[in-house]
């Protein structure tokens, strides 16, 4: 089933993007073509195959719980578009 313009609009919200009408139109066509190609995955026989999320067999690695230096607050905040010197500033959330 091909992805519809409405679906694309919903996905844009999930992805925190805003697309203009023209962009939506174009994105719908492009995603339809790309997904039609990707759909060939359904031909692969994967019954009983364990998925992998990673190329190596990763095991949880434990290290000693030692305090070490980390990024200072002013250094981290220096890269923010708006900050108070103590935290990041955003538009009011409560009562919005």
């Amino acid at each position: 089933m091909a992805i519809s313009r409405d679906d694309v609009e919903k996905v844009a919200k999930l992805g925190r993007l805003m697309l203009t009408g023209e962009e939506l139109e174009r994105m719908t066509g492009e995603m339809q073509r790309i997904l039609a190609y990707v759909d060939q995955l359904s031909q692969a026989e994967t019954d009983g195959v364990e998925p992998i999320a990673h190329p190596a067999d990763v095991h949880t690695v434990l290290r000693d719980d030692q305090v070490s230096e980390s990024l200072a607050r002013d250094q981290a905040l220096a890269t923010a578009p708006r900050h108070s010197g103590e935290g990041y500033l955003v538009p009011a959330v409560l009562g919005d």
Partner: protein
């Protein structure tokens, strides 16, 4: 002395012997960049004075008899995706224009410790998404062999600057072929190491289970040298490879490079020579396989039955990881933020207009800030990847896309495990064609994705893989040979590549612009 045509290893020897100063060597490169890069666009930022300053410091340290690192005084260019606290890191995105990282990536820190002269920051597809370097928000890069053509991507600037003689070495990153494909298109050597071989700390993330930084150089010896500098376990990267038991010494990939591999078995994949492969590339690669035969290698036909699904698998997994990684760009923590006052005005108007009807569809203010900041600062290809990833991970589609792709990924990896029981290295084409014209894929993103046909499998399986020059088309464009090895077998891969390089002269060929004098 023709400084610009010397290899990095020769430059190092000349520096050590006192035949040239780091300052003179750096000045020669700076002048060449100033004279030629306007026509290529390899660098996003380059500061000649700063580079010369780094070089004079190395000269002073050498004069004082200090012990210097493996790259002392040798110019190295870095793709603008690896954080360097001494300046901006933009990922060629409007989102990160002006972003000054508070720390060095481990790769940059290793280069500094080795005494490299960091000569500039190279152009790329925005956030490393693309295969032509045309997705840079700031400028396209042109192919030094023919400036109407793309250099490939996403490490297009990294490959072009080495090809054009602007630096002997550069660092690229490879998520689905982004070092190897531009290396093939620009006629240089490019190495994607084993996943985890090189630290990803401070490498701005695109797809975390696939990303890997690696060297671009004009020959395998130089690539081995640079890889030796940047490889190694990093406690800051939980996915970085641990040393094998009982072997804590850093690996030196140059040590046995000139030693041919005894009884080498070259795997040739049936599926690599099918539909979509350009005839000139096909014959150049077959000729390279004949060279291996003449060197005494046994050629073993092998099959990778799931490789036909590799591009489809990759274009689910990479965008899924990208949509997750790029959620950090929210207009709050760093980077671009929309004009907040204007945004509030528009939102107020929307709410008023909807006052009588249903207003449930209108964003809360903070959500609008995220959406508008992201939409104004990301380019079309980045938006496409975020959309594909958000879709593949969304409720109702996760099983059919992400989970299915993760299962196919295992099958692709298992194919390689079985193949490497029959052969030591796999050899084939790096890309299905030579460099395409700029603009060719502007309206055809899927067409661009299919250029990754031969390269994405190594990322999905975590294998080391490299490209080296193996021929030219009738039009004089470079063709790349891909060599792949099992995980952790970079030394074997580089030695195998060197066997071919030592008896052919394709790596020695340079575009005319590399000889141009300022």
């Amino acid at each position: 002395m023709e400084l610009l045509s010397l290899s990095a290893i020769e430059q190092r020897q000349a520096l050590e012997a006192g035949d040239v100063s780091a300052e003179a060597l750096t000045r020669a490169h700076v002048e060449h960049i100033a004279a030629t890069d306007a026509g290529v666009g390899a660098f996003l930022r380059f500061d000649g004075d700063n580079a010369v300053d780094q070089a004079t410091k190395i000269d002073a340290r050498r004069a004082a008899g200090e012990s210097l690192g493996a790259l002392a005084g040798v110019p190295v260019a870095v793709k603008d995706v690896l954080c360097d606290a001494n300046g901006e890191t933009t990922c060629a995105s409007k989102m990160l224009a002006g972003f000054r990282p508070p720390y060095d990536s481990t790769v940059v820190a290793q280069l500094k410790a080795a005494g490299a002269v960091l000569i500039g920051r190279t152009n790329m597809d925005e956030f490393a998404m693309g295969g032509s370097t045309e997705n840079s928000a700031f400028q396209p890069t042109r192919n030094p062999w023919d400036t109407s053509l793309s250099p490939g991507g996403s490490s297009g600037g990294a490959a072009a600057c080495v090809s054009a003689g602007m630096a002997p070495l550069s660092i690229g990153t490879d998520t689905g072929g982004s070092i190897r494909q531009p290396a093939a298109f620009c006629g240089v050597v490019g190495v994607k190491p084993t996943y985890g071989r090189v630290s990803r700390f401070g490498l701005v993330a695109f797809a975390s289970s696939l990303d890997q930084a690696g060297p671009l150089a004009r020959n395998t010896g130089d690539a081995a040298l640079l890889l030796s500098v940047i490889a190694g376990h990093d406690p800051h990267d939980a996915t970085s490879l641990s040393p094998l038991a009982g072997n804590d010494a850093p690996e030196d990939f140059t040590a046995e490079l000139e030693k041919p591999l005894d009884g080498l078995r070259i795997g040739v994949v049936d599926e690599h020579f099918g539909e979509g492969l350009d005839a000139e590339v096909d014959s150049a690669v077959r000729a390279a396989i004949d060279v291996y035969k003449s060197l005494g290698a046994e050629v073993v036909p092998i099959s990778l039955p799931h490789s036909r699904f590799a591009v489809a698998c990759y274009y689910v997994i990479a965008p899924s990881e990208a949509s997750s990684n790029l959620s950090r760009y929210d207009g709050v923590h760093y980077g671009y933020r929309t004009d907040e006052a204007a945004m509030r005005g528009e939102l107020e108007a929307e709410r008023k207009a909807a006052a009588e009807g249903d207003a449930s569809d209108i964003d809360p203010t903070l959500v609008r800030l995220y959406r508008q900041s992201r939409s104004e600062a990301f380019g079309p290809e980045v938006k496409r990847r975020i959309m594909l990833g958000a879709y593949a991970l969304s409720a109702g589609y996760y099983d059919a896309y992400y989970l299915k792709a993760a299962k196919v990924r295992r099958l692709i990896r298992d194919d390689f495990t079985a193949a490497f029981e029959k052969c030591d290295l796999i050899v084939g084409p790096t890309a299905p064609s030579a460099a395409p014209p700029l603009g060719k894929f502007e309206d055809d993103p899927l067409g661009m994705y299919l250029l990754d046909l031969y390269t994405v499998s190594a990322n999905l399986a975590g294998l080391p893989a490299m490209s080296l020059p193996c021929g030219q088309t009738a039009a004089g464009l470079p063709i790349g040979l891909q060599v792949m090895a099992p995980q952790r077998e970079e030394a074997r891969m580089l030695r195998g590549a060197r066997m071919y390089e030592a008896v052919t002269d394709w790596s020695a060929r340079r575009p005319p612009i590399a000889e141009a004098q300022g």
